[in-house]
Symmetry: C2
Subunit: 117 residues, 2 copies
């Protein structure tokens, strides 16, 4: 499939996919005779994973490391596992932040409600 389809399926924009290619976290996929990128479903799965990791705040540098390990084969799985576990604990932290901010907002909104009436 072409880049636009890969984009809509993964959630990333076409610009972001090309950007990810230049920074090396997306492989240089095959090209069609006219020079257009050709994505496989496996490529799209990878893009989708990147989409979620990025969307939840994993820095590009970490993703670069992760992608490099991925390309080196199965013996890097323990280290990849470590990266994902670390990310999971950062997700938990973020959820706590959201909960805390949500509580603060509720409190603020409660105060506003009094002014309104």
């Amino acid at each position: 499939m072409l880049i636009s389809e890969a984009a809509s399926k993964s959630g990333l924009s076409t610009e972001t996919i090309r950007y990810y290619e230049t920074v090396g976290i997306v492989p240089r996929v095959e090209r069609l005779p006219n020079g257009n990128r050709h994505f496989t479903t496996e490529n799209v799965e990878w893009l989708t994973l990147l989409y979620w990791l990025r969307k939840t705040g994993m820095p590009i540098k970490v993703m670069q490391h992760f992608a490099k390990l991925y390309n080196q084969g199965d013996h890097t799985i323990p280290e990849r596992k470590k990266i994902l576990l670390e990310h999971q604990s950062r997700l938990e932290e973020r959820r706590n932040n959201i909960d805390q901010c949500s509580a603060i907002l509720s409190h603020k909104l409660e105060i506003y409600r009094r002014f309104e009436s």
Copy 2:
């Protein structure tokens, strides 16, 4: 209090506080005779709110708008309320993203676990 204390109490860094001043979301606080900024507890409460809003992804532009309304007095409360409500719904969205990514990670980690043994 001085900027370093305001920073440690609010959670923001001294650099960020000064930056927020230049972009107009923190008032130009009083200065001591030597030119150092002097923060009141009210200032710190404002900084703390900004800290949480920012930490949970509110863009500076929105905070600029919010700060402007705040300075215009109580009659802007309905609009401020709207901003906070919008932010709350974005928080909910973010929490969903985190949950979804968390599920994906758990699945990946489960697959890795099989390789390990």
